[in-house]
């Protein structure tokens, strides 16, 4: 294709936006509204995913040794644990530290444990995290078999339930996003179809004077992409500012430290790129799908 032809297609694409003012407005609005809804869902989905992951990461295995275990046994067990391929993290908790933690967890009443330092009844222990939370159960069984390990604890029932719930949540979110994206695409394709039906005259004339189908399609391609991108701008602005306000509100006003929202960066950037991409894609797709009908003259 000649450069002059490419610039012509770009120029025509831009001009057509203006020439078909109201129809452009209708299509861009359809893109805006659907992308806004989609964006809200994406934000929600990514945060839920983040929350689920945080919860899952907290699933850990507590490995206790015998109270009388000596330094050599501790070293040996630590070595064995680290060799396990499913183990991601092995942290040693000496008995003194274990007691400190216990005291802390009792708050003011922790003073009750004062005096136990000399004859510490707690064993040395390890905290082990699996590479993926789902491996926790099988890893615990392997640890049980390690020589010198006295007791292995992990919340078996709780983890099973947790994983069942998080799997469902993930599926529901994915299904929702796919359904929304499809609705958006058909809504936009329909609006664009209206704009093109109004222009079948133009396409007919192009065909009569000998324009190739490709030549006819290009300006519509440019126009569709521009409409999609324009339609994505407002949702991006609304979502970015809205999310900034929300994170601020949650941190400052509610002080809900456990409601751990994803930080603005890189989330805002990711969402913006996703919305721009989806916008451009559905704009182009809707445009080309609709123009296809009129190319058979």
């Amino acid at each position: 294709m000649k450069t002059s032809t490419i610039t012509r297609h770009l120029r025509e694409g831009f001009k057509n936006l203006g020439r078909n003012g109201w129809m452009t407005f209708a299509s861009v609005s359809a893109v805006t509204i659907t992308l806004l809804i989609l964006g809200v869902f994406l934000l929600l989905a990514m945060n839920i995913q983040h929350l689920v992951q945080t919860v899952e990461k907290q699933v850990e295995i507590r490995v206790s040794l015998d109270v009388t275990a000596d330094q050599a046994t501790v070293k040996k067990v630590e070595g064995e644990l680290k060799k396990l391929s499913d183990a991601a993290e092995v942290t040693f908790i000496p008995k003194a530290e274990g007691l400190q933690n216990l005291k802390k967890s009792f708050g003011e009443k922790g003073v009750l444990f004062n005096g136990l330092e000399k004859e510490n009844p707690l064993p040395d222990s390890f905290i082990v995290k699996a590479k993926t939370p789902q491996q926790t159960g099988s890893l615990a069984q392997k640890i049980q078999k390690v020589n010198g390990v006295k007791k292995v604890n992990y919340a078996e029932q709780t983890t099973k339930k947790l994983f069942a719930i998080t799997d469902v949540v993930r599926l529901v979110i994915i299904a929702f996003i796919i359904a929304l994206a499809f609705t958006a695409m058909f809504l936009i394709a329909n609006t664009i179809k209206l704009t093109i039906v109004a222009r079948r005259h133009e396409i007919e004339i192009m065909k009569l004077v000998g324009a190739t189908n490709g030549f006819i399609r290009w300006p519509f391609f440019v126009e569709g992409a521009l409409m999609g991108i324009l339609g994505a701008l407002l949702p991006i602005a609304i979502l970015t500012f809205g999310y900034a306000y929300l994170t601020d509100f949650v941190e400052q006003q509610l002080a809900l430290y456990f409601l751990n929202l994803l930080p603005m960066y890189p989330l805002a950037l990711q969402i913006s790129l996703i919305l721009l991409g989806i916008g451009a894609f559905i704009g182009v797709w809707g445009s080309l799908m609709s123009v296809r009908r009129f190319l058979r003259i």
Binding site: K2, S4, R8, E204, I205, V209, G210, N213
Partner: protein, 230 residues
């Protein structure tokens, strides 16, 4: 040499209407031909076959050496560039100026800007509309709009101009004016085929007349007359 050759051409529409039955026509380069006949007799189909808006059900159509009835979809645009078509309802783009409407036909075939401007001005001069280049179609009279359509049809130097009732929407005086423009173009060597209901023109400007009745060629006469009462 024959510019257009039709051999035993039949056209049946998907709804069962038989529009043409066994048409045989030879038209030489440089001829001026009227196509006449009652409404619904098959004139429009006959015309549409020539620029491949319709495909024949049976038979051969050869234009300028190429079998357009067998032409592959992707070659149709290139074939159409050698044919200029003019319609009763002008088919101008209302949002483009006169200049842009004519230039459009050249942009579409990827002519360069340098070629487009002088050529568009040249054809606008030929149809006597150079002074209206910046006007929109709405601001022109019917006759002027039709001359813009003719300018668009000839801008790419086609071998053949097909006019489907070009004077159908125009008063007698303006019709004569359009006719003169088409005759001008014909004098420069372009073949013109014109489907018409205009008795005055056919009887006053004597040219070859092909009459189509009930899908068949009823008459084909050099310097013929209109021959119908409407």
């Amino acid at each position: 040499m024959c510019l257009i050759e039709m051999q035993d051409v039949w056209k049946t529409y998907p709804n069962g209407t038989v529009a043409l039955q066994g048409i045989d026509v030879h038209i030489k380069g440089g001829e001026f031909v009227y196509v006449v006949g009652p409404s619904g007799a098959g004139k429009s189909t006959f015309i549409k076959l020539m620029y491949r808006e319709e495909k024949p059900t049976k038979g051969e159509i050869v234009i300028n050496g190429s079998h357009i009835s067998r032409l592959k979809e992707r070659y149709i645009p290139h074939m159409r560039r050698k044919i200029g078509v003019v319609f009763q309802d002008f088919k101008l783009l209302p949002k483009l100026t006169v200049y842009e409407n004519v230039a459009f036909a050249m942009e579409v075939i990827e002519a360069s800007k340098k070629e487009i401007k002088p050529r568009v001005m040249e054809v606008l001069e030929l149809v006597r509309l150079k002074h209206k280049a910046r006007s929109l179609p709405d601001q022109l009279s019917g006759g002027e709009q039709q001359r813009v359509a003719i300018a668009r049809a000839i801008v790419n130097n086609p071998d053949l101009i097909i006019a489907d009732e070009p004077t159908g929407n125009l008063d007698p005086e303006t019709s004569m004016d359009i006719m003169e423009t088409l005759l001008d173009i014909n004098k420069r060597g372009t073949t013109v085929i014109m489907a018409t209901h205009n008795k005055e023109i056919v009887n006053n400007v004597r040219k070859r007349v092909i009459a189509i009745e009930a899908g068949r060629i009823a008459r084909d006469e050099q310097k013929g007359e209109y021959g119908y009462e409407d």
